[in-house]
């Protein structure tokens, strides 16, 4: 196996968490986590349900802001800027950091309108530009061939796997640099899952991808680095090959070998 050249360590990490603690009211959901994520990598967060993986993921695009009682300590830096500073505009942040959800959630509009949504809210009105971006995004999301003659068809008429690829296209059209995925394939059949995993593998060269997954084999197949979360703590975080062949922590070993959780 070729070892991917690791000159990325010389550059600043794309995403950086420093001493992060998260509370929902009195409940502490994230305990003192620090980690760095490099550009153009796929990082997987694994761990049992309710252990903070999704919460931590949503810190990167501040989607936790909408939850009652959410409170955060520490720093989350993207491109070396703390995104929780008061002057940060959340809407601007989310143009750089896109998100794909577990259950595909296309808008009840046409395929075209779905993909163009992000551009519309930015105020882009030039139809030629929108057409181009829509086509590029659909091609990147491996949906163009199936969609190009049906752009005005309702998005809800697509199959589950197609809808999820549409949601990915929708995110890509905004041209973010980071894509967050919260269990993107857990609601899909195996063939759709494989297609999306291949897609993630291709997207890696242009984006930084962080994916929460319940499926350890998926983490093994597509990620460069993996973080194991348990009860709000980051137990182990390293190169995926090393984590899966020689984890240092017994909890990690037990989890990945299927002995608990």
């Amino acid at each position: 196996m070729t070892d991917h050249v690791k000159d990325k360590e010389l550059k600043l990490p794309k995403i950086s968490a420093e001493d992060v603690n998260v509370f929902y009211g009195d409940f502490q959901a994230i305990k003192n986590i620090s980690m760095d994520i490099n550009s153009n990598t796929v990082t997987a967060f694994i761990g049992p349900s309710g252990c903070g993986k999704s919460t931590f993921l949503r810190l990167f695009n501040r989607m936790n802001d909408y939850v009652e009682g959410f409170r955060m300590e520490g720093k989350i830096k993207i491109d070396d800027n703390n995104i929780y500073k008061k002057k940060v505009h959340v809407e601007e942040l989310r143009k750089k950091v896109g998100m794909v959800f577990q259950k595909p959630n296309p808008f009840p509009k046409s395929i075209y309108e779905n993909v163009a949504y992000g551009l519309k809210i930015q105020g882009i009105s030039n139809k030629k530009i929108i057409d181009e971006r829509v086509e590029t995004a659909l091609k990147q999301a491996d949906l163009w061939k199936e969609a190009k003659d049906n752009l005005n068809k309702s998005a809800l008429a697509l199959s589950g796997g197609q809808q999820q690829r549409l949601c990915i296209a929708r995110t890509l059209a905004v041209e973010p640099s980071i894509i967050l995925m919260d269990e993107p394939t857990s609601a899909l059949d195996p063939i759709s899952t494989t297609r999306i995993e291949e897609l993630i593998f291709e997207l890696k060269s242009n984006y930084t991808i962080v994916i929460v997954t319940h499926n350890m084999q998926q983490a093994g197949r597509i990620s460069d680095n993996t973080g194991f979360f348990y009860l709000g703590e980051l137990i182990e975080y390293k190169n995926t090959k090393d984590l899966f062949t020689n984890p240092k922590n017994t909890k990690t070993e037990n989890y990945i070998s299927g002995r608990f959780g």
Partner: protein, 234 residues
């Protein structure tokens, strides 16, 4: 992969890793074959420079063996391959070990050349049929490489049968060499080196035979171990 599967599934990450693994084991086969070719030349012309080169190359072979082992471990851990993919990784793992042993034997033969450093009696060489042994061993290695690349079971079986020749020569060697020594006792040292080399070459054949068995296991999911060759012809 059959045609239908090819249409449904494009190259996955796993396919890429398996392809690289195959290239690595082919490279390993090439390196080891080269060592045997060099050992052949070094032994017959007692070329100590070439012998040193063989021993030096051994490092590269060992490093490649470790790398292939590690790659197999990673593929198993990260991808949980099943069916033919799993059999392939297991085949590579085993062939890797066999090739490394063959490398060890060439190292030893080079060692003999360096130690003896004198030409060996030509009639003794001819009588022992060691030249035929070297040729057979080299052709077996070359053929198993092709069989592996093209997954050619028929060719692999041919290789398997050639091992019988090596075994035959090895069996006769003791007699032939002792008869020679009865006539001329001064040849003892070189005869011993010759005999040791013959032994090593016979084991080379055994290891190539192992590689045939794992190749057939991979391609046909059939186990040929511990069976008589006559059964395999069916």
């Amino acid at each position: 992969m059959d045609g239908l599967a090819k249409n449904l599934i494009t190259m996955t990450n796993l396919d890429i890793e398996l392809k690289l693994l195959k290239e690595a084991i082919i490279e390993m086969t090439d390196l080891v074959t080269n060592q045997v070719v060099n050992a052949n030349e070094a032994f017959l012309s007692m070329d100590t420079d070439l012998a040193y080169e063989i021993q030096h190359n051994e490092q590269k072979i060992n490093a490649l063996e470790l790398s292939i082992d590690r790659d197999c471990e990673h593929i198993l851990a990260l991808f949980n391959p099943v069916a033919s993919d799993l059999r392939f990784v297991l085949a590579v793992l085993k062939s890797n070990a066999d090739l490394e042993r063959i490398g060890d034997y060439t190292y030893a033969i080079a060692g003999y050349v360096i130690e003896h450093n004198k030409s060996i009696n030509k009639e003794l060489i001819e009588a022992s049929q060691i030249i035929a042994m070297f040729d057979t061993a080299i052709s077996m290695l070359r053929d198993i490489k092709i069989a592996f690349e093209t997954e050619d079971v028929k060719l692999a079986k041919k290789v398997y049968r050639k091992d019988a020749d090596l075994n035959m020569i090895n069996k006769q060697a003791a007699d032939i060499i002792s008869k020679f020594l009865e006539k001329d006792g001064t040849l003892t040292t070189e005869a011993l080196y010759l005999f040791s080399t013959i032994r090593k070459l016979e084991r080379v054949g055994d290891h190539v035979k192992n590689m045939v068995e794992v190749l057939i296991f991979y391609v046909k999911a059939k186990v040929l171990k511990h069976k008589d060759i006559k059964d395999k012809k069916k």
